[in-house]
């Protein structure tokens, strides 16, 4: 399905070079893969590189064996990559129905939009003609973002922290959306998340820290390690020792 070969990404900051991603090698063939790891570790950058929003400094991206490294965002979208943003974008004037229709690649009937919205737990009649702007809550925008990915039904769906910016109560029902997605969607789902409940339903967990892959494995292999990885603070240690 998706193969990343020696992906590196370097940015220059105040004259010095900073490596955001270092020689990432990863194969995604499983149905549901979760990427986790500390903030600032390079997870979102990796998702943007897969979607074509950021060009890697070096390395190759293969989709079903085809090299898509030089493909534009649009070309990758049309080859079957979907990407749900961490921060959904506002559109003045475009409605939920407009965006779902664009995502589906054809004009959608109200009934069809309703079916998709109900999958993400939105009561369609209230939302079909709403503008996708600041009048919607963070949780609503996140659900619409996910609905667009469902409407596209591509072979690879990327989600960047679907839980970010959502209250705990909304997230509980969002988890059910992902459990259902795992059961219904035929392609691969790659999801960046810190939520244990998301990691729990993953076939494979990838831990990215400091720009490189720290651990790859099943839930049983990775979860115990994760719980003990938070680096100890030397100052605090000394303090505790007295």
């Amino acid at each position: 399905m998706l193969e990343l070969k020696n992906i590196s990404y370097v940015v220059s900051e105040n004259g010095s070079e900073k490596e955001i991603l270092k020689d990432i090698n990863l194969e995604i063939d499983e149905h549901f893969v979760a990427i986790t790891g500390p903030n600032g570790g390079g997870k979102s950058t990796l998702a943007k590189i897969i979607a074509g929003i950021i060009r890697p400094t070096s390395g190759q991206i293969l989709l079903d064996g085809e090299d898509v490294t030089e493909c534009s965002i649009t070309e990758r979208a049309n080859k079957g990559i979907s990407f749900a943003f961490q921060q959904p974008v506002h559109f003045k004037g475009l409605t939920v129905k407009d965006l779902i229709s664009i995502a589906a690649g054809k004009p959608m009937k109200v009934g069809e939009v309703c079916d998709i919205l109900s999958e993400v737990g939105l009561c369609a009649r209230d939302y079909v003609n709403r503008e996708v702007n600041g009048s919607l809550s963070g949780g609503e925008l996140k659900r619409i973002e996910i609905a667009m990915i469902i409407a596209r039904a591509t072979k690879l769906s990327l989600f960047d922290e679907p839980e970010a910016g959502i209250d705990l109560w909304s997230f509980n029902s969002l988890i059910q959306v992902f459990e259902k997605l795992r059961d219904d969607v035929h392609g691969s789902i790659l999801i960046i998340s810190h939520q244990e409940r998301i990691l729990n339903i993953a076939d494979k967990i990838v831990v990215i820290a400091n720009g490189h892959i720290d651990t790859v494995g099943t839930k049983a292999e990775v979860m115990p390690k994760l719980l003990n990885t938070s680096a100890e603070c030397e100052v605090l240690k000394k303090k505790q020792r007295g």
Binding site: I53, I81, K92, T95
Partner: protein
């Protein structure tokens, strides 16, 4: 009416043939056709070009169409239309001007519309401006709208200029009495070297009157837009104006709002935002499979919808 005029009529009034109800179609400076009803009378002015539209008190659910069509290159005219809307009436008025200029001379239509809206009457006024033609002659329109709202009267005005007008200076003036309300929604798109100037001036004179002026515009290529709005709060009243513009290419947009409160209970707000299309909007639509140009088109269509 020939094919060109019929196509203009379709653009400015959404009409294929002559409309239902009252109408007055003006083509190339002359009356083409007219229909009046029991409640709506249309009379040609004697002292200058134009018509008086008289709507009887209590007239409900009727509409008046007054499209103007210019297909002769170089035709220039100034027309005065006065609307007298009786108390408690509830009507829709659809005006519009379409110019087809395939010659080298400037075609120009300056329409001065005055509305006298009676007590508790409701008016919806829709105005569309459209130009076309492959000649080098310019299409110029300078619409002036003057609105007098009596006690409890309300007017909703929608004005749209999407294509083909090379130069426009749009003036809208209004004064409001007690409890009157005015809502104006303007949509403008300019391209090439076009110039559009909008000038709103509203006097909120009555107690509890309100005005809401919203302008959304897109400026492409080397076009220029200027937006002026003056709201004077002279009583306990509410005024809100908003100018939201997308700027593209080498265009220029300027917004000059002016709010004056002459009464302690006047509440006035202005919002203005000018900027290019957000990069993240383009990227989002591209991840849904659109090219950059298609994404731009969707964003602009939505914005001006």
């Amino acid at each position: 009416m020939d094919a060109i005029q019929k196509s203009l009529l379709q653009q400015v009034a959404g009409l294929h043939e002559v409309p239902e109800g009252a109408y007055n179609i003006r083509a190339n400076g002359e009356m083409d056709s007219r229909n009046t009803t029991a409640n709506i009378d249309i009379v040609t002015k004697e002292d200058k070009a134009g018509i008086d539209i008289i709507i009887k008190p209590g007239t409900k659910n009727e509409s008046v169409h007054i499209p103007v069509l210019l297909s002769k290159s170089g035709l220039q005219e100034v027309v005065y239309n006065d609307f007298y809307i009786g108390e408690d009436a509830d009507v829709v008025i659809i005006a519009g001007c379409g110019i087809h200029n395939c010659g080298v001379d400037t075609s120009k239509h300056d329409g001065v519309h005055s509305f006298f809206v009676g007590k508790n009457a409701k008016v919806k006024y829709i105005e569309r401006h459209y130009g076309e033609g492959d000649g080098s002659g310019e299409n110029v329109m300078n619409p002036e709208t003057i609105v007098h709202l009596d006690e409890g009267a309300s007017m909703e005005m929608e004005t749209t200029q999407i294509k083909g007008i090379d130069s426009t200076n749009r003036i809208t003036k209004a004064d409001l009495k007690d409890g009157a309300s005015l809502e104006i929604r303007e949509k403008i798109m300019t391209h090439g070297k076009q110039y559009a100037r909008t000038d709103f001036s509203v006097d909120l004179n009555g107690k509890d009157c309100s005005a809401n002026v919203v302008s959304r515009s897109v400026a492409k290529n080397q076009s220029r837009q200027e937006f002026f709005s003056v709201i004077n709060g002279n009583n306990e009243c509410k005024g809100h104006s908003e100018c939201d513009a997308i700027i593209m290419d080498d265009a220029s947009v300027s917004a000059s709002p002016q709010l004056t409160a002459n009464n302690i209970d006047a509440s006035l707000i202005h919002e203005a935002a000018i900027g290019k299309i957000a990069g993240e909007q383009l990227i989002k639509l591209m991840t849904l499979g659109l090219t950059e140009a298609e994404a731009e088109e969707q964003i602009i269509n939505g914005f001006l919808k």
